[in-house]
Each structure stands twice: as structure tokens, then as C-alpha cells.
């Protein structure tokens, strides 16, 4: 614990900190470009110079200097000021003065720090260097003349992203960042845009679209995967311009996946902006809310409870699911489910469907078994935690299921349930490895749980967790890797079949056999719609996707940026999203639609406003009151041992860039699909 003096104030810091970190702890801000707390130290921008004594009588780069006992650091002396001004002058020598047309303008580190340390005029009269633009894929725009060679992007893609596409070639004045004209093949590539301290790497879809100071910023939660990444939605007028990550050490650190970041253009196209009713000719026709409600009311009033069913989609907020459950209960229907993919999750035991270890704690594990999942696509930010654990802590990772590039090395144990059964029986050597580990974890994906034998897979995974010591007093190594943002919330609310009710496959079978007449789809698009041909389908959602095409009545709802709602992420963390924009046209927030409909069918829900709804929801599920916390769960018995099919596990996601109505409507995601999915398939399928 070295003690040092910073600007005359004594401070004691932890071992292994740098002078820059010590200064931050002392509340002194040090300007920097290349240093980033989540990346390795490069020490090449020289902006963080400070004066240190004892030591050589020259300024020193504080980011690369370990804090030592008895150091006296001065950060505001004339020498430091002069040194930083000099560094800034050098940086600006080859930096173009194109701030007025630069997308980074207004949120640029270089611009900001030039205000603090830049000279008012230039002494440089020679030619500035110019660098040709590079191709880095459909997401990243490059204006490489602006690059100051901090190499943050190279370090991020190599260290966090786990792809070695970016690098710095040549040297001295000719140094350039490049990918050798290849798209950056990481699902996290968008983060280099945030990391770039200048306008060299900017967002391609957002280029020349808006200025930061004309955007309204709303802090909310992402729903494109089950991570519950904390995001900031920037809106101009009523249009979502971009999505940026927000710091949450427990969830997404400060990264988000490309799907979360770039799908927002999907919020503008294929939107449902007015109610539709299918006419006698079988065509969907625009209607008023009253007309749509009247049609539904006529259908519902005659129907018996068990002939009505409801399926909630993957992006629903808890409030709307709670309201729909309330309506279904009032109508006497036990047929409701939030597991579109048919995942065999047990709603009665909370620890059976959670990522119990916790996202942040997952990096502390020393051994990890991945079952039937591709975490790189299903939960990219869980994957970065595993990669971090593998890189820093020597985590040993083993995989049963699809054999894919996960950005870290792993032992491949097998493709199917045979290996899983061997581990459960204790005959596989991996069982012993699990038992010997200090912090073992397993992770079972929807690729295993959504199969017909999902319940048996879950039971075997539980047996492994139990028998191999994954469950300890201070550690629960049993994890379910969800892909749907609404799933845990739906399970918590009990949006699952009631007494004698049907689950999703039961509802689909019932609808095609005629046992179920009315199916209410709340943003559910991932089910087999052809099964619903005979039933009367009500689709409430925000995009004209599969569900809307199969619907007899469409009720236009709000997307995740357009409503305030609670979401529960895969580890069970309750988080509150906020409205950033209004739903388009006649579309309304989802719970208000359900509340209005309930009054028309004569089953008025007992709340008139959002606080009222939340109060009722909190009574039903008390842990929903604890925003941004993970409620501890107890380890119970669940799962039914049964026969497992020998078919190999597949990932639940076939195309990372298109998994839901929003990303399917996004042009940017379509471009990514062309670049990364179709091109890659072409290369392996036909070229070699």
C-alpha cells in the first residue's frame, strides 16, 4: 500500500496502481488518449505527463508509471502544463481542422482537451499528412487522417473482442491503423467507435445524421438479448438516432453488442402505427381502436376460458405481461406462456431458470462447462466475461454442443447428450475436474433446453451441478443462458401455464386441432404461425413481422424505446427502462392497450395508471421493487430425469444479426448479415 503525495495531498493507494490511477483516486483528472482502464497500457499518446520526484527531471507518462512509496507527483506545475501543451501541438500537427464536418464534433476527447491544452494558433506551415480511408465493414466508418494512433481500437478488438483483425502497420509518420480491407468480425466491433478519442472511427449508419447537442438522451435498458445491457438512447424529435452503452460494472461494463447498438434503424421501418382488422376478403384493413376492440370483444365474450390462449414474446416489458396475465386470469384462461421456443424451464423454482453465478462473478470461475450454447452470439457480453476469465485467471472452458470460434480456447468434449450423461454419471474425467475446481460453473443454453428432451437436459445439468459441487454456500455455478430479454421477467411473473393450461406447443396444437379459438400474441413472432390458421389471432406488437401477418386483429404497441417498463435480465436483475420517444401514429404503450381492452370485454383491470399497475405487480412479485439488484434465490429440486435424444446440440441462434422483429427490420443488420453470415457461409460452403 504505497503512500504518495499528489499535488501536495497525501494519499494511500492499493498495490499495483499506476500514478494516473492514483491521481484519479485523489480526484485529480489527468488528460489522456491512449490509456483506457479496461485495456492494456500502451503509453504512446504522452498526454498524461506529470512531474514526479524523486526521479529524472523530466515529465513522465503517468499511465505507465507504477505508483511508488514516497512519490511526490505534481500535475499542475508549469513544466507539466508546458509538456502537455507540447504533446497537444504534436498531435494537432497532423490532425485535420475539420471539426465542423466531423461526426465526433461535440463529443471528441481531442477537441475537449485541445480547449484545455491547445495553443490558440499553429506554428506548423508544412503539408499535413493524409491517410487513405480503410474498409472496416458495414458498421465502422473510417476517416483515418484524423487518427492519432492511440491504438485503443487495436487493443480492444484483440483483448476484449478476441479477434485479430485490426493492427497498426508501417511506422513513424506513415503509421496507419488498418484491418487489411477486412470487416472487423466481432459482435462487439461497435465499441471501437466509442473508444476512438477522435473522429477516425465513427458509426457508419449514424454518419452525418445528428449532432450530440441536439439529441435528447434517455437512460434505459436494451432488449435485443437477455443481458439487459444498460444503454442510452439518443433521440431527435421522435426518432431514435443512436444507441450507446452506459456504464454498469455488474452487467455490461461499458460495452454493448453490435445488435444492441445498430438495430435502432429497425425502429423506423415496418412499424405498426394503427390497428388493423382482417376483413371478409381475408385482407388486413386499417381500423380505429374502437372497431378493433369491438371485433375482439365479440370474439372473447362468447369464448370459454380454456379456449383462449396468450403467448408473450421475447421483448415484452414486465408491466404488459402482468396486464395480459391479469386479463387472461379474468377471462378464466390458464393457457399462457412466455417461452416461445418451448424451453423446458421450471417456473416454480427461480434458481432453475437464472444465470445464478451472476454476470460479473462469472469471470471469477476457474472452470466452465458450456452446454448447447454459443455464448458469443447468444450473450456476447457474457462471452467477454468468460474470455476475461480465460485470459487473466486461467479459466478452463469446456464445450458440449456446437464447435465454434468462441474467442478463447476450450476443450471440446462432444456434440450431444451422451457426454453430458457420462459427466452426470461421473464416468467422464471432466466430472472429476469439476469436483476438484474451486469455483466451477456450467452454462446451459436454449439450444439444449428448447429441444423436446429439454426437461431431461435440465435435470441432467442439475444433477451435474449437485453432484460435482457447483452449489456451495457462497457460490452457485448453475447457469441458464437466456436469449430473450423478457424471459426471466415472464417466468418471475408466472406467465406460464396455469392449472391444466397449455404451454406454447399445447397452444399451437390446440389452435390447429380446434381446441383453442382465440390466441393473443403479445409481441410473439418466433412461433410456427401456420399452426394458428384456424384460430382467431390477436397480435399486439410494434413490428409487421410474422405475428402481424398471421393476425386477425393487430393492436399497435410500443417498442422498447417507447415505453417505460421493467425488464429482468438473465441473472435475475430487475432493471427499469425509460421512454425515450413516443410510439408512432396510433400505437400506444402496451399496458394501456390491455387496460383499455379489459374494460371493453367487461373484465376491467384494477389499475388506471402505471404506478397503480406497478403497485399491483409488486404485490404479486415483491422482488420487482428492488430495482438494479439481484434477489438471492434458494437451490431447490427441479427437472425430471428422462430419456435424451442423441441428436447433437445446436445453438439457439442461427444469425446473430437477426433474432427479433426489430433487428429483422433493420437495414444495418441486413448489411451485417450479408457481410458476416452469408459471406462466411459462401467461403466455407463453396470455396473450399
Amino acid at each position: 500500500m504505497p503512500k504518495l503525495k499528489i499535488d501536495g495531498v497525501e494519499i494511500e493507494v492499493e498495490n499495483g496502481l499506476t500514478v494516473l490511477q492514483a491521481c484519479e483516486q485523489a480526484g485529480v483528472e489527468i488528460p489522456r488518449f491512449c490509456y483506457h482502464e479496461r485495456l492494456s497500457v500502451a503509453g504512446n499518446c504522452r498526454m498524461c505527463l506529470v512531474e514526479v520526484s524523486p526521479g529524472p527531471p523530466k515529465p513522465q507518462a503517468s499511465c505507465a508509471l507504477p505508483a511508488g512509496e514516497g512519490m511526490e507527483v505534481t500535475t499542475n506545475s508549469p513544466m507539466v502544463e508546458k509538456a502537455r501543451t507540447g504533446v497537444m501541438e504534436f498531435l494537432l500537427i497532423n490532425h485535420p481542422l475539420d471539426c465542423p464536418i466531423c461526426d465526433q464534433g461535440g463529443e471528441c476527447d481531442l477537441q475537449d482537451q485541445a480547449m484545455g491544452y491547445g495553443n490558440s494558433g499553429s506554428r506548423y506551415t508544412e503539408d499535413k499528412r493524409a491517410v487513405s480511408e480503410k474498409y472496416m465493414g458495414p458498421l465502422i466508418n473510417t476517416i483515418m487522417t484524423r487518427c492519432i494512433h492511440c491504438t485503443r481500437c487495436v487493443r480492444f478488438s484483440t483483448e476484449v473482442g478476441g479477434v485479430t483483425d485490426m493492427g497498426m502497420v508501417n511506422r513513424g509518420e506513415n503509421a496507419e491503423i488498418t484491418t487489411l480491407e477486412k470487416a472487423v468480425s466481432s459482435e462487439l466491433s461497435g465499441n471501437v467507435i466509442d473508444l476512438c478519442p477522435v473522429g477516425a472511427l465513427t458509426s457508419k449508419p449514424y454518419s452525418f445524421v445528428a449532432r450530440p447537442w441536439e439529441l435528447k438522451k434517455t437512460e434505459t435498458i436494451d432488449v435485443l438479448d437477455a443481458m439487459g445491457s444498460n444503454i442510452r438512447v439518443d433521440v431527435r424529435g421522435n426518432e431514435v438516432m443512436r444507441v450507446l452503452p452506459r456504464l454498469n460494472e455488474d452487467v455490461n461494463e461499458e460495452w454493448i453488442s453490435d445488435k444492441s447498438r445498430f438495430s435502432c434503424d429497425g425502429l423506423r421501418s415496418q412499424r405498426l402505427d394503427k390497428p388493423y382488422v382482417r376483413n371478409a376478403a381475408g385482407k388486413l384493413e386499417p381500423a380505429s381502436w374502437d372497431e378493433a376492440f369491438a371485433v375482439i370483444s365479440a370474439k372473447l365474450s362468447g369464448a370459454a376460458g380454456e379456449r383462449i390462449a396468450a403467448i408473450a414474446g421475447d421483448q415484452c416489458d414486465a408491466e404488459s405481461m402482468f396486464a395480459l396475465k391479469g386479463l387472461m386470469d379474468a377471462l378464466g384462461s390458464p393457457n399462457l406462456d412466455c417461452r416461445q421456443d418451448g424451453a423446458a424451464l421450471d417456473p416454480s423454482v427461480r434458481s432453475s431458470y437464472l444465470f445464478n453465478t451472476g454476470i460479473a462473478k462469472a469471470e471469477e470461475a476457474d472452470i466452465c462447462l458450456i452446454i448447447g450454447a454459443n455464448p458469443r452470439w447468444e450473450a456476447p457480453l457474457v462471452n467477454t466475461r468468460l474470455r476475461k476469465g480465460w485470459l487473466d485467471g486461467g479459466m478452463k472452458i469446456s464445450v458440449i454442443g456446437p464447435q465454434l470460434d468462441l474467442t478463447y480456447d476450450y476443450d471440446y468434449l462432444g456434440a450431444s447428450t451422451a457426454t453430458l450423461q457420462e459427466i452426470a454419471d461421473g464416468t467422464h474425467p471432466f466430472a472429476a475436474a469439476l469436483k476438484a475446481a474451486k469455483r466451477p460453473m456450467l452454462m446451459i443454453g436454449m439450444g439444449a433446453l428448447s429441444r423436446d428432451d429439454g426437461a431431461a437436459c435440465l435435470a441432467v445439468a442439475r444433477k451435474i451441478a449437485n453432484d460435482c459441487g457447483l452449489i456451495r454456500d457462497d457460490w452457485n455455478g448453475f447457469n441458464v443462458l437466456h436469449t430473450a430479454a423478457a424471459r426471466v421477467g415472464g417466468m418471475d411473473l408466472g406467465f406460464t401455464p396455469g392449472q391444466g393450461g397449455c404451454d406454447v406447443s399445447g397452444i399451437l396444437n390446440g389452435a390447429s386441432s380446434g381446441a383453442i379459438d382465440v390466441v393473443y400474441l403479445l409481441g410473439a413472432d418466433e412461433i410456427k404461425m401456420s399452426s394458428l390458421d384456424k384460430a382467431f389471432v390477436i397480435y399486439q406488437g410494434h413490428h409487421g413481422d410474422a405475428g402481424a401477418h398471421a393476425a386477425d386483429v393487430i393492436l399497435p404497441g410500443a417498442a422498447y424505446t417507447e415505453k417505460s417498463g421493467v425488464y429482468v435480465n438473465l441473472e435475475g436483475r430487475v432493471q427499469r427502462g425509460r421512454r425515450a420517444a413516443f410510439p408512432p401514429g396510433d400505437a400506444r404503450e402496451d399496458w394501456t392497450i390491455l387496460r383499455a381492452l379489459s374494460a371493453i370485454v367487461g373484465k376491467t383491470l384494477p389499475y388506471d395508471d402505471l404506478p397503480g399497475l406497478r403497485k399491483a405487480m409488486h404485490e404479486a412479485c415483491p422482488h420487482f421493487t428492488h430495482i438494479d439488484t439481484v434477489e438471492p434465490t434458494s437451490w431447490e429440486d427441479f427437472g425430471t430425469i428422462g430419456d435424451m435424444s442423441a441428436a447433437p446440440f445446436k445453438s439457439a441462434i442461427e444469425n446473430f444479426y437477426m433474432t427479433d422483429p426489430i433487428s429483422r427490420a433493420s437495414e444495418t443488420m441486413a448489411a451485417c448479415t450479408r457481410e458476416f453470415i452469408l459471406n462466411a457461409e459462401g467461403a466455407t460452403g463453396t470455396d473450399g
Binding site: 485479430t164 483483425d165 485490426m166 493492427g167 497498426m168 502497420v169 508501417n170 511506422r171 484491418t179 487489411l180
Partner: protein, 195 residues
């Protein structure tokens, strides 16, 4: 990766010897000697195929090979002539009139820096200090240093190379290695105690 270069059998043995010098798991450290070996086999330059081959041989990312290859002037990333002339123009050589040597070579060959003669014999390259300042000005031709050059001796060396001869490398004036050019200044007379 499109084209992939492969070492000849003889070079493959050398390459394996080189890699064996580095600790296990640190094989990528051999990238520089292997690039050199590869470019020697490939007419003096590291083509994309050579870099692909080295990346594959060392199991390292292609971009890391490019980073190293593009950093060092020792690795040529475009085709070079049979003789690669590396002109040192750093301060000591420049003080000893390396400009005249450079100009004479350029005039005689009809090409400038960074260019190759049409017959594919000579390429000219400007480099920083070659570390033989005592014998400035110097030019490195492939692996040999030609020292104490003047415009005339430069042209003479080039003429000999063109004629297919191998002119002796080292100082091009009457001088033994880097001993004083004006002759010995000390120990001119050896005396022994018995005398």
C-alpha cells in the same frame, strides 16, 4: 488467405531451428528471422504469400505479421532487384557526403530512391544509420557493406556488379577495416624490453 508460400526443404529445416530457439508458446517471436528467410527464398521480398506462409507457420494472426514486416526496412514488401542498395543518409554519412554517393548511383542507374532499374538488377532504398559510421559514407548491397565510398568508387562498384563480378566489400579506400585512414598513429614503432 489466398496464396500461401512454403519454405523449401532446406529452409524448412532452418526455420524449425529458428523457432526452436524461442520458448514454447512464444513461437511468434521468430517472425522476424522467418520473414527474412522467406524473403531470401522469394527473390528478396516478402510478398503477401510469404507473410501468409509465415503467419501460418507460426500460428499467429496475419495482421501481426504485416505489422512487423511493414515496420522494418529490412523486410521489403514490394519486389526488389537482384541487388538492393541501401543508402545510409543519417548524419555521419551525410557529413561525409553521402549525398554525392547517392546522386552518382542514381545518375548511373537512372532510377531514384524506392525504385528498381528496368533490367531488374538494382533497387535503391534510403535507410537510417547502418552502424558503421567510422567508415562513412556507406551503402549496404544485399548483405555486404561497401564503405568509405565516393561518387567514383560507388559507380565503380556498380559497374563491377553489372558486369557480373563481385567487388570486394569493406572500405573502398586504402585502409584496413576501420583502422585510421591516414595510417597507424600509435604503435608505429614496436620496441621490446630486451632491445
Amino acid at each position: 488467405m489466398s496464396e500461401i508460400f512454403e519454405f523449401t526443404l532446406e529452409n524448412l529445416v532452418t526455420a524449425k531451428q529458428i523457432v526452436a530457439k524461442y520458448p514454447k508458446g512464444r513461437e511468434a517471436s521468430a517472425v522476424l528471422p522467418l520473414l527474412d528467410l522467406g524473403q531470401r527464398q522469394n527473390k528478396g521480398w516478402a510478398s503477401d504469400a510469404v507473410m501468409n506462409g509465415v503467419a501460418l507457420f507460426l500460428d499467429m494472426p496475419r495482421i501481426r505479421v504485416t505489422e512487423v514486416a511493414s515496420f522494418y526496412t529490412m523486410i521489403s514488401m514490394k519486389p526488389v532487384g537482384k541487388y538492393l542498395l541501401q543508402f545510409c543518409t543519417t548524419t555521419p554519412c551525410w557529413l561525409r557526403n553521402s549525398e554525392a554517393v547517392l546522386a552518382a548511383a542514381s545518375e548511373y542507374l537512372g532510377v531514384g530512391l524506392g525504385q528498381t532499374t528496368e533490367d531488374g538488377m538494382f533497387s535503391m532504398l534510403e535507410v537510417e544509420c547502418l552502424g558503421a559510421c567510422v567508415n562513412a559514407p556507406i551503402v549496404q548491397i544485399n548483405d555486404d557493406m561497401y564503405e568509405d565510398l565516393t561518387a567514383e568508387s560507388m559507380v565503380a562498384v556498380l559497374k563491377a556488379l553489372k558486369a557480373g563480378e563481385t567487388p570486394p566489400h569493406g572500405p573502398q579506400i586504402d585502409r584496413q577495416k576501420s583502422a585510421p585512414s591516414s595510417g597507424a598513429a600509435v604503435l608505429t614503432k614496436l620496441t621490446f624490453s630486451e632491445d
